[in-house]
Structures are given as structure tokens and as C-alpha cells.
Symmetry: C2
Subunit: 438 residues, 2 copies
């Protein structure tokens, strides 16, 4: 056991909900943490934009730095907690300053890691400092530790999850209450679950940042967030949710990284998951991650993906590890050994597809569509054509046709749908939702 | 980063399914593990009862010790993996020998830990050795690491889970197939999920050993497996499973440890859980653990609770941590600081109850029962009396009456039921199943 008696001095930059929660939690748990670690953890300096803001905690007693970068480089602290946010700018400068001075860094900043994670990890390794980011993915769920340490003996086949609470809240409300996407988005904004500009969440970009981190931890490949195929939930309709329910599925926005014959695949999109699967049960703002691996087979973690206290829980766990002297490579393996092979392109994705078409109600339409699929050897598990209240279009006379395909390739489906569109039988752009097997 | 170039030499005692799986996994993952850790992990000696047994792995190349204790104390190894089993005897002797010689120990032996965990942890701390036991609870689920490290900043309110795959398999089959307990038990034995003498599993004792370990990790109290109230699943009937389904519950054998006004409560018993809860979805041999804590709110982990590869996954993760030089107190906090306050007695347990009575079909019987409850201020959420095929008794003319109570105390329920029995209205011992709120 390491014998250290001096307190570990923490500097925190960024005092929003999460920063305030970290200070409260460290305060409340200080005796227990000191007992666990054999060393006191003490917040000794802070930095934020507005000193006077009401935060529900007493920061007047703490030395205040106007400049986060100065705090990061200061000799007053041993460990720097970055809660500024943003993929560059002040957050990047401050993290670099801390690492360069040999200090360990704890951050919740997935955007920063998705963009600069490799460079920052290399700097941390060079300086013998820790760079810890449990809070950056799935909030209070210890998924980073699980992938980096708990499953260290496994070869991972796939990691996928619900990584954005805003999207899961909206899809859950749409399904359970029969409300439109727009209504649920407004509701989420009113409740503070969604930002005034919700693009980052509902467009899938937040999920993609988190997925980029999980991919590297799971597969030992260098982060390449630019290689992720991203679709948001904006185009998911009530008609899709109803069809999913009838067919035994639920629709979730998933981030998926999988080992395939074509390489490591990374994608974020609305996904049909079997209604009986563990991930389908996860409703509201809750997050969940499932890992398929050779030894452990299947492991699922379910918990809060956001919120001050839950995020602070992850940050404090990182601080405790560092305080105990634990130094692991930030992404589980040394940066220099991470594979930089290109990721698999989306066109080569293989899986089942849900397709909803708005078809002009003419003789031969369904047969023509089925023929276009058959020409490309796409096998159909089911084809459902039905006029239902509200689902047909009065103006065009079009009716919905829903197809479920067996496994095929993304490019094959796209070619078949291009042919269907060219045939002139459909009134709207086809809706395509990928199916994820358990 | 620690610079160590010599391999970590592993000695494994016990080469059953798990031991063989550990050797296979270390072999298969050796390059990746060495990359992660910066150090090779090498199995350098083994010990088991029967050298000639076919194990699907080549052990002839490895130095063989007839005596596990001699292996544990040998200078040929740096880390000892105990997979002998049993709460004392050879397993205890070998683990003590290894720790006394300053070697770290990895074990999957919950019985040993439940009985001697405090003494062994104290010895490990004294010698600066690690004592790691991720595999001892819930197989491949990293629940020990999660409680010890991942939630280090939390004050935990409750931890509960499905910790025995045999029991969950039997209860799942009974419910889904409408089979009797005896039929499902025989089936589980045929499939190798249950031992020839199944008492240890179905009586709740295996779950209790695991719960004792979780309690200490969660609450910082010294292990006291003798303080656990234990009931097995032998008395759960199809009538109970059907009533549970009608009332919106499922029955699971849970281990529960909770912080209450009367102290830390530890109990193992068949439990009614809300059908919509995450834990209720867990069917078959799968395990699951839910943690309620102040910061993270609720976290659930679901995965394989047994099996060679899944258990080996946990053992290899422990080995990897130790190889990286990580030394944490085995139970998260130093043994000397663990509270030894007495655990809360079961009579003070507070919660809702499901009660199934076999009542003679006489006027006034239901009213008399309700009166006995009311006398002790037990509020009833529902009372259902109904004659159903197969649920009444032809011989006695008794009919089933099912009560669901609001929260009350265990001793109050027991007193009320004693009074009901004394009234002479019921034909069989009352069935009592506790309800666990989400």
C-alpha cells in the first residue's frame, strides 16, 4: 500500500451544475474517501466565468483563478478537473497546460476527447500523468472503467448503447404518449433535457463523440470520430414507432461499434431493437451500454447518462483512482500501439432493414417493389401494406408499405430503393431504419 | 507509467472448467494483455487433484505441483490463483501461504471469503499484497470493481440482485412453462445448471455468501454472513407465480443489503419485484445487480453469473490490475476501519408483503383475516379470494386468498399470521413473500 500523507490538491475549472456537484460530493464523502485512499482529497482552487453566480455551494472560501489555463499550470494543485466544455479553446489549452506540467487531468469533455484524445493521451503517457474521463460517456455508468479494466481479458465483438438521454426521452415519449417528434422535443426543452439549439443531441453528434471514445477502448483503434456514420432522430415518425411495435421492435438512437469482416464499423442512427432485449427496456433519459465479448458473452450496464450528481460520481471515482496512484494508459493501451487502420465504410454495413414507403395506391405497386428487392437478392422477412387512419396521405392517395429485410448490405438496399424511386411508385423519400440483432 | 519488464508468473491451483478457461484466455489474449500492461503474464505452474484428466488444454508443458499449498508458497510464482473451492481446508491453507509469502492472490471462492474474508484481507494489507475476487460474485459482471472503485464517491443505500443462476433458471422456467419446482429442478440438473445436491443453490446459501461480500463493499461493514436472513425457493409454487403475474410482479430470488433506520439489513429470499423493473426482465441463468446510491441514483449491471469463460474474464481482469501494480484494500476500505456494528435483525424489516392463505370456504373467513390485519394496523393494498382450477383443495375445501399489504414490519406480519392460524380458518402454513420496491 502506498504511503502518502499529504492531501491531493484538486483544481476545478468550470462551475456549472457538474462542477458544483463535484465540490458537494467531495465535501460530503471526504472522510470515507480519505479512509478508502489513505489520503485526503481537497479542492484547493477553482476557476469559472462568473465569480458571483449563485451555485448552492460556498466557493468564496476557495482561491479563485480568473484564468483556467493559469489554474491548470499552477503549483497550488496536483490534479486538474476540466469542466469548461467545448472541443477546443480554453478547455484544450487548460488540459494541455496541466498535462505539460505533469499534472493528472480528469475531464467530462467528450467533444475534446473525440477531437484531440489521441494527442492528449500521448502527452499524458509521456509525462506519466493520468488522463481520466469516466464522466465523458454515459454519465454515472462506469463504462470506461469496465472496458478499460473490467473486460481487459476479452476480445470485444461489439459495443452499443443508448448514449444520449435527450433522444431516448423523446423517442420514449413519442411511443408511450403517441406525440409527435416536435411536441416531445418542445417538452424536453421545457424540462431542461434538451438545449435551445437541440441539433447536437438529436442530430446524433453527441452520441458520436461518446461512441468514438468507446470504440477506442473496446477495439484498440485510434479515435476517428470523422469516420462515424451519423443519422439523428429527426425523421422518426409515429408511423415508424407504431410499425416497430407491431413487428416486435422498439426504436432507439444507438451508437454501435462492431468488428466486421470489413473492419471496425462505427455508426449512430435510429435503430430497431427487439422489444424483448435489455436495451429496449431502457426508457426516458436513462442510458445503457451492452458489450458483446468472447469471454463475458454479453454484459449490459444501465444507469443515469447525465445530471450533476451522477456525472460527479464518475469524476470523483476517477479522482479516487488517481489519488491511489493508479496510472493506466488513458485508452487502456498505449497510444503508440493503437491501430490506425481505416474504419469500415457504411456502404459495407450488413444487417436487416426496416423500410417504410409511401406508395401510390395503384395495381402492381407492391409487386414492383418486391421485384426490385428480389433483383438484388434482398430477402424479405415481411411486407405489410395497409390503409390506416392518419397513415395514408389524402393529397397523394399514397398508402404506407412496410418491408422488413433479412441481412443484406447497405449499398444493396440503397441501390434497390433508388430503383424503386425511379419506378415512380412512391410519394415520399423512403424511410430506412437499420435493425440491430441481439 | 511503471516500467517492469519481467513477466508476472502465475500459479493456478484447481483446474476444473474455470481453471482451464483462465489458462485458455491468458493464452489467447497474451499479446493484447502484454500491450495493455507493459508486462507479459505467464502461467508458470499449476496444481490439481488429477494430472491425467482431459481438460481440453495442454498442461503437460507446465510444472505440476501435487500440493496446492506448496505451489502457493513457491518462489516459482508471483501471483497465486485459487480455484480449489470450499470454505476452508486446502483452499484456505493455500491462500494463507501465498499471502504470508507476500504474493497477491486472485480467487473465485465466495464461501472462503464469506467465512475468512476479513482475516485474509487483513493479512493481504499487512503484507502489501493484493487479494482480488471479482469472480466470486456474479461471475463475469464487474460488480466488485464497480462498488470498490467505480462508485467510490457514493453513499450507497441499497444493493440487491439475482446472484444465483440456478434459482433464476428454475423460477423463469416455472413461470414461462407452467412447470412445477421439482420438474424445473430436475431439468436444471440434467443441463448441469444445478448440482446433484442442490441445497446450496436453491436454499439461498450461495446467494448469501455473495451478498456478504457485496454488503461489505457497499457499506464498509465487516463481513458477517451469519447475520443474513436466508430463505430458499423450495416453497415457491405455480400459484404464487400466477398470482404475482396477475398483480404486476415477478418472483426472483434476491440477495438484498440495505441501509435502514435499524442498521444494515442483509437478507436472501424469494421476492416480488415490479414486472416493469429492470431486474424483473432478467431471465434464465443470467445474473443482475442493482445499486441505489446518493450520487448515481440507480445503476444496474446484467450479465453471466457463471460459466468457465465468463468467470475467467473476471479472474483475468483481476490479474491484469495486479500486474499493473494496482493495490487497493481488498474490500475498498482498510479492514481495521470496517464497522462491526451489529446488522439489523429481520424482525425489524419494513416493507410490503404478499401473503397467500389456503382458507376454509366458510362465511366470515375473509373478514376475520382482514380484522387480524387491521388489529395490527396493517393496511391492505388488495385482497383477492377466488376459486380457480387446481388452486383450491378438494380434500379440505380450502380456497386461496391472496393479500398484498402496504409497508409494515416483519414481526407485525408474523404476529398477525399467528393470530390467523390460531383462528383455525386456514388449512396450510401461510405463504409469505416480501415485496421489494424499485
Amino acid at each position: 500500500m502506498q504511503v502518502v500523507t499529504s492531501p491531493l490538491r484538486i483544481g476545478i475549472a468550470g462551475l456549472g451544475t457538474v462542477g458544483a456537484a463535484v465540490i458537494s460530493l467531495l465535501d460530503r464523502q471526504s472522510a470515507d474517501l480519505a479512509g478508502r485512499i489513505g489520503r485526503e482529497i481537497r479542492v484547493t482552487a477553482v476557476s469559472a466565468r462568473d465569480k458571483g453566480k449563485e451555485r448552492g455551494i460556498d466557493v468564496a472560501r476557495l482561491p479563485w483563478f480568473e484564468d483556467a489555463v493559469a489554474l491548470a499550470g499552477s503549483r497550488e494543485i496536483d490534479l486538474f478537473v476540466e469542466l469548461i466544455g467545448g472541443e477546443g479553446g480554453m478547455a484544450l489549452e487548460a488540459v494541455e497546460a496541466a498535462l505539460r506540467s505533469g499534472k493528472s487531468v480528469v475531464t467530462a469533455n467528450k467533444a475534446l476527447l473525440a477531437k484531440h484524445g489521441m494527442r492528449l493521451a500521448a502527452l499524458a503517457e509521456e509525462k506519466g500523468a493520468a488522463l481520466a474521463f469516466e464522466a465523458s460517456v454515459a454519465g454515472g455508468i462506469p463504462i470506461v472503467k469496465t472496458l478499460r479494466e473490467g473486460l481487459a481479458g476479452n476480445s470485444i465483438e461489439r459495443v452499443y448503447g443508448i448514449l444520449n438521454g435527450t433522444c431516448n426521452y423523446i423517442l420514449s415519449r413519442m411511443e408511450l404518449e403517441g406525440l409527435s417528434f416536435e411536441q416531445c422535443l418542445r417538452e424536453a426543452q421545457a424540462l431542461g433535457y434538451a438545449e435551445a439549439d437541440p441539433t447536437f443531441d438529436i442530430g446524433g453528434f453527441d452520441t458520436a463523440h461518446k461512441l468514438a471514445i468507446l470504440t477506442t477502448l473496446a477495439f484498440g483503434t485510434a479515435i476517428d470520430a470523422g469516420a462515424i456514420a451519423i443519422e439523428g432522430i429527426e425523421r422518426v415518425t409515429l408511423a415508424d414507432l407504431e410499425a416497430a411495435a407491431e413487428l416486435g421492435y422498439r426504436i432507439k438512437l444507438l451508437g454501435v461499434a462492431a468488428r466486421t469482416a470489413a473492419g471496425i464499423e462505427q455508426r449512430v442512427h435510429p435503430t430497431m431493437v427487439p422489444r424483448s432485449s435489455a436495451i429496449a427496456q431502457v426508457m426516458g433519459v436513462t442510458n445503457a451500454v451492452t458489450i458483446d465479448a468472447d469471454a463475458v458473452h454479453e454484459l449490459t450496464l444501465v444507469g443515469p447518462g447525465a445530471g450533476g450528481a451522477a456525472t460527479a460520481s464518475a469524476i470523483v471515482a476517477d479522482i479516487a483512482d488517481i489519488a491511489r496512484g493508479v496510472r493506466t494508459a488513458p485508452f487502456g493501451r498505449p497510444v503508440a500501439t493503437l491501430a490506425t487502420a481505416p474504419y469500415a465504410p457504411m456502404q459495407l454495413h450488413e444487417g436487416g432493414y426496416y423500410i417504410r414507403l409511401s406508395v401510390y395506391d395503384r395495381p402492381g405497386a407492391a409487386a414492383a417493389i418486391a421485384t426490385r428487392m428480389a433483383e438484388r437478392s434482398i430477402s424479405l422477412e415481411s411486407i405489410v401494406q395497409r390503409r390506416r387512419k392518419g397513415s395514408g396521405s389524402e393529397a397523394t392517395g399514397a398508402v404506407p408499405v412496410v418491408l422488413i429485410t433479412y441481412a443484406t448490405h447497405e449499398q444493396t438496399i440503397r441501390q434497390a430503393l433508388d430503383a424503386v424511386v425511379a419506378d415512380g411508385y412512391i410519394a415520399e423519400k423512403p424511410q430506412v431504419i437499420r435493425i440491430e440483432r441481439e
